[in-house]
Structure formats: structure tokens, C-alpha cells
Symmetry: C2
Subunit: 196 residues, 2 copies
DNA sequence: AATTAAACTGACTGAGTGCTCAGTTTGTTT
DNA sequence: AAACAAACTGAGCACTCAGTCAGTTTAATT
């Protein structure tokens, strides 16, 4: 691994775990064994380092979703919704270290003043919500999902799933035992009939 | 208003808006016109100031819910769920300045090492989730809500509603237009029959 | 072996931090 | 008016921070 990659990896873990403002360059330097100056040689500023990490995360998430839904086939739109929820939870658990970057305020505050950051966040979230929306639309065609506003319902679904991930991040409640209830609740709220 | 109240109010707004670590004592001093020393005269530390604010917020939220649900009467448990969601959204919009305190990582990170903070957060969240659970239990008695695990479904409901509030906080999507869909989705996922 | 450019270093800077404390002001009691 | 305590002040302290830069090492080319 190159020095640049070492810095990216360590910084990603620290920013995700503690947050941007709570992580110092000197800490990244200590952990990696790379001099502070080297960090600024590879990235023009701490903010630039953050954006490089966010860019990598974006690629991982977008590629991950694209690959998963290119291979997978579902019996119905409703099953695809379940697949999307399950994959999101899997991703959040698998890439916990990098995913939690999105559960701090910093990226959103930065997005308000930095168009590059705004663009990256929008790409990530739109990709996820789009998948939910596609699944709903598909379900409405095959009859597994009833008359709902697909985009709005996709947003509500996403907010539900992300909320549960946040429970774990914030150490408030353990969402592990909520998976089955979550799936059946989503099926009920979308379903065109009594199927669960 | 006493100096102490002025400090609490200004700090609350700044902590909610920018976050704890991103707000300096000198900034609170500047905005209020109160000397920095005065802040430490009234609160033993910056963390102590934060806990005082969180305590006030807890009281507001707990009292708010208690009062609302003491006065209000509902035709069914399902209607009470709708009432709880509506009131939570109302509260989040009304006391935006203070509510957003809970949408930063700091309180949860502090809770991991500070039992007082942990206690305050648990009181707040349990109070809200309890209301949802009560409503579900009531609905199961009167037949408006089907066979679901009341606690788990209460957590899912809360995560949904709070997720939408976060959308607005993070400036990602405007949840304003999602209210009607949210309510009807909740009704569907809880309902024992086809009522919406 | 000599040259050159890219990669890397870490001591340093100046701005900013939470907090302290010796001293001043204010308001109440005697 | 004298005495006292509570409220308040702001300069100063020890410390941390992101970022700089003069200098060194490494690796490839001639």
C-alpha cells in the first residue's frame, strides 16, 4: 500500500469513528507513522483529505449497489424492496468504519458551503433512494405493491432503514432484533393486499 | 432574564446549530455580551453548561408530551399513534433550535463516558418511545392495530419519524411534502385491516 | 557517478482553545 | 454609611490545532 493509501485508510477510520473536527492531523500522523508534512504533500488541506475519503466512499457505495442489483433477480418489486433494505443494512454493517462518516454532522454542514461535497452526498443518497424507487415502481407494475407515490415512499423507506442504523451508531438501541419486524412492516405499508 | 438564562439560551442555540466542539466559550461570551469568566461562574465547565442545556431540553420534551397526551383524547390507538407522530413533528419544528442538539454526535459520545448524560438521553428517548408503545397497546385492545410486537414497532415508528426530521436538519430532502404519506404508511403497517 | 525530481520529514508558527483568578462592581443587610 | 457576599470581569495561562517550509531521503535517468 502506498503512503497515500495508508493515510486515506487511517483518516477514514478516525473521521468515521470520532468525527472530522475531533480528529487531528497529528493523530493521523502518529497512527500511520507518516510525518504531518507528508499528509499535506498528498492532500492540500484537511478538508481536501476528507473529500478524497468521501469520494472513495461514494464509489464503493454506488458500485456496491450497482453490482448487487445487476446480478440479483427478484420475484416481485416487493421482494426487491426487501433486497434493497437488506443490502443497505449489510453494507452499513460490513463497511461500518467508512459508513459512519455519513452519521456525523460535518459532511452536511460542509455540503452547505462546498458544492463538491454537496454533489458527492447527493450522488450517494440519490443512488440509494433511486433503488428503492425502482423497486416500488416495479412492484406497482407486477401488482405486488399498491398505489403509492413511489418517490415519497422511497424516501420514507430510506429514512426508516437509516434510522435503525443510527440507533446502533448512537448506541441507543440495538437494532439487531428489529430486522424481521422492519421487513414485515415495510411489506405491509407497501403491499396491495394482505401478503406479508 | 437573568445572566444565567441568557447564557443558557445562547449556548443552546449555538450548540444545536453548530455543535458542541464547534462552539467556543468566547463566541458565547461575544454573542451574549457576558464575560467569559461569568460563564464559568455559573457552570463549572463547558461540559457542565451542555448538561444543563440537555436537562432543560429533557424537561421541555417530557413535560410537552405529558401535557399533550393528558389533555388529548383519541378515538382509537391508531389515532393516538398518528397523534404521537404529529406531535413529535410539531415539537421538532417548534423547538428546532433546541431539538437539533440531539442530531449531533456529541451527546451520544458523551453518554458513553458520562452517566448523567446517558441518563438524560435515555429519559428523553424512552419517554417518546413509551408513548408510541402505549398507543400501539391501546390499539391492540380496541382492535384498531393488529398483532405486532409493541416495543419493536414503537422503535421502528420512532426511527421513521426522527429520520424525516433529520432529512430537514441535514438539508437533504424537504420532508414537508411527506407528512401525508408517512401517516398513511404508518396506518397501513400497523392496521389490523384495510383502514387508512 | 552525477543529476534531478518526487516523496518525505518534523520542528516551527500563529491563531485559537477551555479555564483560572485577582480584582471590581452591584445589591442587600445591618 | 459600613460591611458583606454574590455576581461579574478580562487579562493571562497552558495547551492544541491546521498548516508551512527548509531541508533530507529515495529512486529513476543519464
Amino acid at each position: 500500500m502506498t503512503r497515500k493509501e495508508v493515510i486515506l485508510q487511517a483518516a477514514s477510520r478516525l473521521f468515521s469513528d470520532k468525527g472530522f473536527n475531533e480528529t487531528s492531523i497529528s493523530e493521523i500522523s502518529e497512527i500511520t507513522g507518516v510525518a504531518e508534512g507528508t499528509i499535506f504533500y498528498h492532500f492540500k488541506s484537511k478538508e481536501g483529505l476528507f473529500l478524497a475519503i468521501l469520494e472513495g466512499l461514494k464509489d464503493e457505495i454506488v458500485c456496491g449497489f450497482d453490482q448487487y442489483f445487476k446480478e440479483k433477480r427478484f420475484d416481485s418489486g416487493l421482494d426487491m424492496v426487501e433486497g434493497a433494505i437488506t443490502y443497505y443494512l449489510y453494507l452499513a454493517g460490513m463497511k461500518e468504519d467508512r459508513f459512519h462518516l455519513l452519521h456525523h454532522r460535518y459532511p452536511y454542514d460542509l455540503a452547505a458551503v462546498n458544492p463538491v461535497c454537496r454533489e458527492l452526498l447527493e450522488t450517494i443518497y440519490n443512488r440509494i433512494v433511486d433503488i428503492f424507487e425502482q423497486a416500488i415502481r416495479l412492484g406497482q407494475k407486477d401488482g405486488s405493491i399498491g398505489e403509492v407515490t413511489s418517490r415519497k415512499m422511497a424516501l420514507i423507506l430510506f429514512s426508516m432503514v437509516d434510522g435503525l442504523v443510527r440507533f446502533k451508531t448512537y448506541n441507543l438501541y440495538d437494532p439487531g432484533g428489529l430486522y424481521n419486524e422492519l421487513i414485515s412492516a415495510c411489506r405491509k405499508m407497501l403491499s396491495s393486499n394482505g401478503n406479508t
